[in-house]
């Protein structure tokens, strides 16, 4: 174990895999000498050279589209879309090519590719640079989606994403990049599709991912002061979703709060609530609550943005209303 930031963790995951397999390369805007918009790829160009760490033109469509072709032809591309907000520019390549090629070809193609991107508000970046759009991706069969919340998960999920033979979208939260924590040294893989119980509890289950894990943990801490024991589950992989871990937790708690930074309507919280309202209906002893961003674009004003974001306080409030 060593102390690392989230961004160091994800970079470590990339570096270890790239050293092992020369078919892995990275392409994206300013991933080279610039080192990525938030420094995510700093040093990789120096370590692996311009043949493997490749600056592209501002052409998200072909950035993702070329990765589909390169992966089908035997490489293992990691491509970066600088902000998940730009995913609309390459959505056809994700939706109709990357996600469907294997199925459409009757299983005769393999697309090991990772799309790295950043999400999240909180830095005054306004409506087009702050979104959490994971729900678009989890509605597309054929791709996997991961959103790490800690440095260790950032590293281990990166390794798993790179090793997976399917298109994986790896979503970094820009507010977490500097967040520090313990990370295993050397090769470390967090299996895709496995949730992590970030805090155990018995009275209420809080499902949260990415930056919201930390709000949920803070809320759980505050709730503990008031005698409410909250379990915090971080799915880490959103597709495929580890529903069993949620159902198991509900067997203890009977109460579910889902927290996400995405806007409420159509967010993945709805899907999780629906799964539980079907398969876990008998476990529930209270309405399922969602703590999310409201249904509006992310405002620029720091004051409005602070109120836009789901927070520890809002989670505490939602939980307390259940008791």
């Amino acid at each position: 174990m060593t102390q690392m930031s989230y961004v160091e963790g994800l970079r470590d995951g990339i570096r270890i895999e790239m050293k092992k397999d020369s078919n892995i390369y990275m392409a994206g805007e300013d991933v080279g000498i610039f080192g990525g918009c938030f420094g995510q790829t700093a040093g990789l160009f120096q370590e692996f050279g311009g043949e493997r760490i490749i600056d592209t033109p501002i052409s998200e469509t072909v950035i993702v589209g070329h990765a589909v072709g390169a992966a089908a032809a035997g490489l293992r591309p990691i491509v970066e879309i600088m902000f998940i907000d730009f995913i609309g520019v390459c959505m056809d390549e994700i939706l109709n090519q990357a996600a469907k090629m294997r199925y459409m070809f009757g299983g005769k193609a393999k697309l090991p590719m990772v799309i790295r991107t950043t999400c999240g508000a909180g830095v005054g970046a306004a409506a087009q640079h702050s979104q959490s759009l994971e729900a678009f991706l989890t509605h597309i069969p054929g791709i996997k989606v991961v959103m790490p919340a800690t440095p260790a998960d950032a590293k281990g999920l990166m390794a798993a994403a790179i090793r997976d033979d399917n298109p994986v979208v790896y979503i970094e939260h820009k507010g977490l990049l500097g967040f520090k924590g313990e990370v295993p040294e050397g090769e470390y893989v967090v299996p895709l599709g496995k949730a992590d119980i970030k805090r155990e509890g018995t009275d209420v289950t809080i499902v949260a991912w990415s930056a919201m894990v930390h709000q949920a943990l803070a809320a759980a801490e505050a709730l503990a002061q008031e005698g409410i024991s909250a379990e915090v589950i971080d799915p880490r992989t959103l597709a495929p979703f580890d529903k069993d871990s949620v159902l198991q937790s509900l067997e203890k708690t009977g109460k579910l709060v889902i927290v996400h930074e995405a806007v409420k309507t159509g967010g993945l919280g709805g899907e999780i609530a629906a799964l539980v309202a079907d398969e876990g209906f008998d476990l529930l002893d209270a309405p399922i609550k969602r703590v999310t961003a409201p249904d509006c674009p992310v405002p620029f004003s720091s004051y409005l943005e602070a109120h836009y974001l789901p927070s520890q306080d809002k989670i505490v409030k939602a939980v307390k209303e259940m008791f």
Binding site: A70, A73, L75, Q97, M104
Partner: protein, 320 residues
Amino acid sequence: MEITKEKLLSFYETMLTIRYFEEKAVELFAAGQIPGFVHLYIGEEAVATGACANLTDKDYITSTHRGHGHLIAKGGKLDLMMAELFGKASGYCKGKGGSMHIADVNLGILGANGIVGAGQPIATGAAFACKYKKTDAVSVCFFGDGASNRGTFHESLNMASIFKLPAVYICENNMYGISNNQKNHMNINDISDRAAAYGMPGMTIDGNDVIAVYEAVKEAVKRARKGDGPSLIECKTWRHRGHFEGDPGVYKDPKEQETWVKKDPIIKLEEKLLEHKVVTKEEIAHLQEEAHGKIEAAVEFAKNSKDPSLDELLTDVYAG
């Protein structure tokens, strides 16, 4: 002509095979035996044939919604293709893809594609892989005049040019994107003029002349294999039938249609073969019969095949 007799004959055979495959599809579609959208390549056979004659199984192609010709020319198996049109388990895609998604990755065929222009980035990526792996393989991208107006065209050719990728972009300009005549969908005559926007060579050729296509693509492929980067080749051609089966093509001037049908690439080649005494009329009749036989066999294979089993519905969504 410096081309061997053998090569010329293989052109002719391939073009006939494509033509008959397509004519059979007309018939089967009309009879309700093939579901979905069927876009036929009749009249454009020289492009795929001339282009793919320069390729091996190690080279890649991306195709389009109008893909049967490309697949056959690149070596696709007729029975597996036909079975796929029928949606049978024995088809190329186990019946899950259909006409618009036939692929054979082992032959370097990265798929027909239902999204106009979507093959351009994919072909670019395959070219990237060829270069990255330091093989001398190339990637050939087929697309239409209509597709050359999509953003994917711009981004792909630009990327290929900067990275000097071994790619050949072949625009099959049949002068229509469904009902929209080239005159109304772009303000230039020669799509190859667009190559200059990316600093790559562009040329326009007669897409109904298989030899012209063969020669032009040969040069472009040579250039690509040498590491000198991509090219854009525009092949002027014409589709004889509607955009898809069922389209009566009212937007086309019948006179223009007539003129172009006279320039049928197969007849053109046939005349040349006879003129240069490469074949006799009898040999031609024999080749035609043979080609018909292959198509009939493919139909037989398809008809005798089974529907996919129900559990196939949920397989192949993910690998591993």
